[in-house]
Amino acid sequence: MLILKSLFYILIFPGALFTSCFGLFLAGVDRKVVARMQHRIGPPLRQPMYDFFKLLGKETIIPHAANKLAFLAAPVIGFVSLALIMLFIPVGGFTAFSGNADMIVILYLITIPGVALIVGGSSSGSPYAGIGISREMVTMMAYELPFVLVLLAVARKAGGSELAFSMEKVAMWQAENGNMLFQWSMIPAAIAMLLVVPAEVGTQPFDVAEAETEICEGPLIEYSGGALGMFKLNTAMKMFVMSGLFVSLFLGGIRTGSVLCDIIIFIVLCVVVTIICMSTTHAVTARLKIEHLFKFYWTFVAGMALCSLILVWCGL
């Protein structure tokens, strides 16, 4: 029974199927909104889904310089770990796995899709991919510090005098005391988190790793067919997972009493977060240089998150 239940969680809800469907939907929303902001009509909302299925039908070419196993396994590992993260994030009021420490688990699981992209790109043997993975790794180091600070601040706020690295406790705290976002001491952390989300997903202006105009999509340069489709799906899922993480950390206090309604509210909030922190910044900014990106995250964003942590620590 435990096995069947776990399989349902992993494969259907809130794991692989749910996350990929809504991830592709969010990607469609993102494209549409960016297009409208740039006075274009934009593709239909289902376009990312069409793209994905089209790519699945195409031939995957493995260059002779590549390591076949790593080249093909990387996108799958990224996909599985992304499906897995959703099990630890409360969707509405529903958490598949919980425990006393899922924040750190989420933090580590979120690095795996990045690592998969890096290993896949690296194994393709292209020098463009080499540059790309270097930038991807620096981006990862850049956003990791503010991300950690935000998580610690939230954990401290929700836990009070005892330690709570648990997302479930954060959800319970918010159900009692209202949304984390409306605590004034948490506002800097929320802003920092809004900036961490696009860097993690890799949208403009933080898409230095895949800068298609300078290094031709970086790690993805040699990918084609199904494997490329998987990576595109991973990016879409990352959008959903990261905006979902923001919603459950800072806006998890909205409860209607019915689980279905809560889940719908959760998805709507995810769309709003995506539009605010990914589509808008995408439409109005140009790509950063990698050293500027690193400096920005370790000074401004980390500073904001640290402010929150100190304020929370002082009992505010």
């Binding site: 435990l2 260059p63 390591n67 790593a70 796995f97 610690l152």
Partner: protein
């Protein structure tokens, strides 16, 4: 019967060392037989102690020559094996046995192998003796044998550049550490009139700390700090690990610096019992945090595979020291688990580095590349080691690092001290930097493009692969089956470190500790509730099936491997902006440009400090010892 096992294991290794030199210096067969026989019997003898010590909770004591205590005073040398000793002894025997198997083919082309195996057995025996002895002076003797065997082994391939320099650095700094330890032990002896650890512990806890004992504590802690290479004592480690034969580098990181960690735990928790003082905790934790940060940032700029691993050893020991410095049961558990995992994954990584060196003749990150197609088995072992050390789930590094974060942040919340929160942040950021530097190795050595001169590289022989497989399997299993490891290894060891009464009573007779007013603390096993092995096993199966379907079922095609003179389909070439394909590998030094420019100032300072001049390093050692001594005198109650 069973109480003879520990001393027999140590004696066999020393006896083997002499026999190798006498009978085996000319004949390869005899030499290998003696070495492997001694190592294997020692392994079996120590593993046989798991049941009585770890499961039944016995403490094994042994008085050399049956010189039992007379009227409450220990006069002979005693061996005492509690769960903490056995925990480290298990790490030691596993490491040296695997290293011995690896050496058989790795060292086959070297000269003077008789000396090599003699020193190898001396080193193994001394570290094993160090973790099992119950006598502080005996401990010092073992530290000395360990240091000098290490120095000789560091300089073993003395035809290579830099080996003698590394040996000299190790000799100077290592001897300074040993002298600190000896001075500390002399002071203790002057104060307590005994050298037996159990008796010293009992006397110190009833007499309280005097200025003499505080001085002794500071010196011994500094001495073991040198042996475990915490910053700023880390200076000889990078050179030594780099130039020593790789089987020995593995021993250095797997057991020699664990000996230092063991010494710290033994001294701080059992002999002096000062870990309930918040100032001592803070001092040790700060040393640990600085160690992990400086270690990993130095590792990020290295161009040499083994040197990079050496700096990671320093950084990971930082985690261990931080965790044991917290003084809580959770902290100690996480520290011990991380020490164990460090032995496994760093041993594995050193073995893969050795395989690369064996197959290609170099470990320079700017000259290698694309080896995954020539050495696929080594690549998989390396990736498992790299993911373990970076703490990706579900490998073992993840669980122990998770416990370290949990322990530090719990400490921060409980004590209300913001410094511990910063330490947690440092630990988490160091983890991602560790990942970054292993991505660098992955790209520079195993992936990317294969240079022309490495086209004929072959996979290493099976005798080198088997130890790597064993280590990889242990890395995965210890991660997934953490509850079992915790129940049978970590919990008994933690319990032994925090409860000294049994340790004292077993050596000095029942009621001795109670008579002097020493009491026990109850310890609850560390909780790790979300870790459900079945769920993770299901996940593994799902990942495996998904990957299998995609890899076999996808409509993929690939070109032939490049042969000179044969035309191939340009469809399978890598993209070069429409130009003809060229060799262009993005090597180790080319990576992480944005990061390095932003940290230019920091690296300038750090490079200035790592000048390579032994005098400077000796000054660091003295200054750090002075700081430890001062802090202990000012803050100790």
């Amino acid at each position: 019967m069973i109480q003879h096992f520990p001393v027999l294991a140590v004696m066999l290794l020393f006896l083997g060392a002499f026999c190798v030199e006498i009978f085996g210096s000319k004949n390869e067969g005899i030499r290998n037989t003696i070495t492997m026989l001694a190592a294997t019997i020692a392994l079996v003898l120590i593993y046989a102690l798991i049941k009585p010590v770890m499961i039944d909770g016995e403490i094994i004591s042994y008085w050399m020559g049956n010189w039992a205590p007379v009227s409450g005073y220990a006069i002979g040398i005693g061996y005492e094996i509690d769960a903490l000793s056995l925990f480290f002894a298990l790490l030691v025997v596993t490491t040296f046995w695997l290293s011995g198997v690896y050496s058989l083919s790795y060292m086959a082309n070297d000269h003077h192998l008789g000396h090599y195996y003699t020193l190898y057995l001396m080193l193994s025996g001394s570290v094993l003796g160090l973790v099992m002895t119950g006598d502080v002076f005996n401990m010092f003797v073992m530290v000395e044998i360990m240091t000098f065997a290490s120095v000789a082994l560091t300089a073993f391939r003395n035809e290579n550049e830099g080996t003698l320099e590394a040996g000299f650095k190790y000799l100077v700094i290592g001897s300074m550490g040993s002298s600190f330890t000896l001075t500390g032990i002399a002071l203790i002896y002057g104060q307590c009139h005994t050298l037996n650890m159990a008796q010293i512990s009992a006397q110190l806890s009833c007499g309280g700390l005097t200025p003499t004992t505080v001085m002794a504590l500071a010196l011994i802690v500094a001495g073991f700090g040198v042996k475990s290479y915490i910053v700023p004592f880390h200076t000889p480690a990078a050179d030594a690990y780099m130039v020593a034969p790789t089987s020995i580098s593995m021993i250095f990181s797997g057991m020699v610096n664990k000996a230092g960690v063991y010494g710290m735990i033994r001294v701080l928790y059992i002999i002096f019992r000062v870990m309930d003082q918040s100032n001592v905790q803070m001092l040790i934790v700060l040393f640990g945090a600085v160690t992990m940060f400086i270690g990993v940032t130095m590792a990020l700029t290295q161009h040499e595979f083994k040197r990079l691993l050496a700096f990671h050893s320093i950084s990971q020991i930082g985690y261990v020291i931080t965790a044991i410095g917290l003084g809580s049961a959770l902290g100690l558990t996480s520290g011990l688990f991380h020490a164990m995992n460090h032995t496994l994954f760093k041993g594995l990584l050193f073995l893969t580095a050795g395989a690369v060196l064996y197959a290609t003749g170099t470990t320079n990150l700017d000259k290698l590349g694309g080896l995954s197609k020539r050495m696929p088995k080594t690549t998989i072992c390396f990736l498992i080691g790299a993911f373990s050390i970076s703490g990706l789930p579900p490998f073992n590094g993840f669980v122990s690092k998770w416990l370290v974060y949990q322990a530090t942040y719990t400490k921060a919340v409980e004590s209300g001290n913001f410094v511990y929160a910063i330490v947690t942040v440092v630990a988490l950021v160091v983890s991602v930097m560790t990942l970054a530097s292993f991505i660098k190795v992955t790209q520079a050595v195993f992936f990317g493009q294969l240079p022309a001169e490495l086209k004929k590289t072959k996979e290493v022989p099976a005798a080198m692969l088997v130890p790597m497989y064993i280590m990889s399997a242990l890395c995965v299993l210890c991660g997934i089956f953490y509850p079992i490891v915790n129940k049978y290894l970590l919990y008994p060891a933690t319990n032994a470190a925090l409860n000294v009464t049994n340790y004292i009573d077993k050596m000095m007779g029942d009621g001795y500790a109670a008579g002097l007013g020493v009491s026990n603390i109850e310890v609850a096993p560390a909780a790790f509730s979300f870790w459900n092995p079945i769920v993770w096993l299901i996940l593994f199966v799902v990942i495996f099936i998904a990957a299998f379907i995609v890899i076999t079922g996808s409509k993929s095609s690939r070109g032939q491997l490049l042969q000179p003179g044969v035309k191939y389909d340009p469809k399978y070439a890598t993209f070069f902006s429409g130009e003809e394909e060229l060799f262009s590998q993005v090597g180790g030094s080319d990576l992480f440009w944005g990061f390095k420019t932003d940290w230019k100032g920091y690296y300038r300072v750090l490079e200035g400090l790592h000048s390579g001049i032994v005098t400077d390093y000796a000054v660091f050692t003295v200054i750090a010892t002075a700081i430890i001594t001062l802090c202990m005198f000012i803050f100790m109650r």
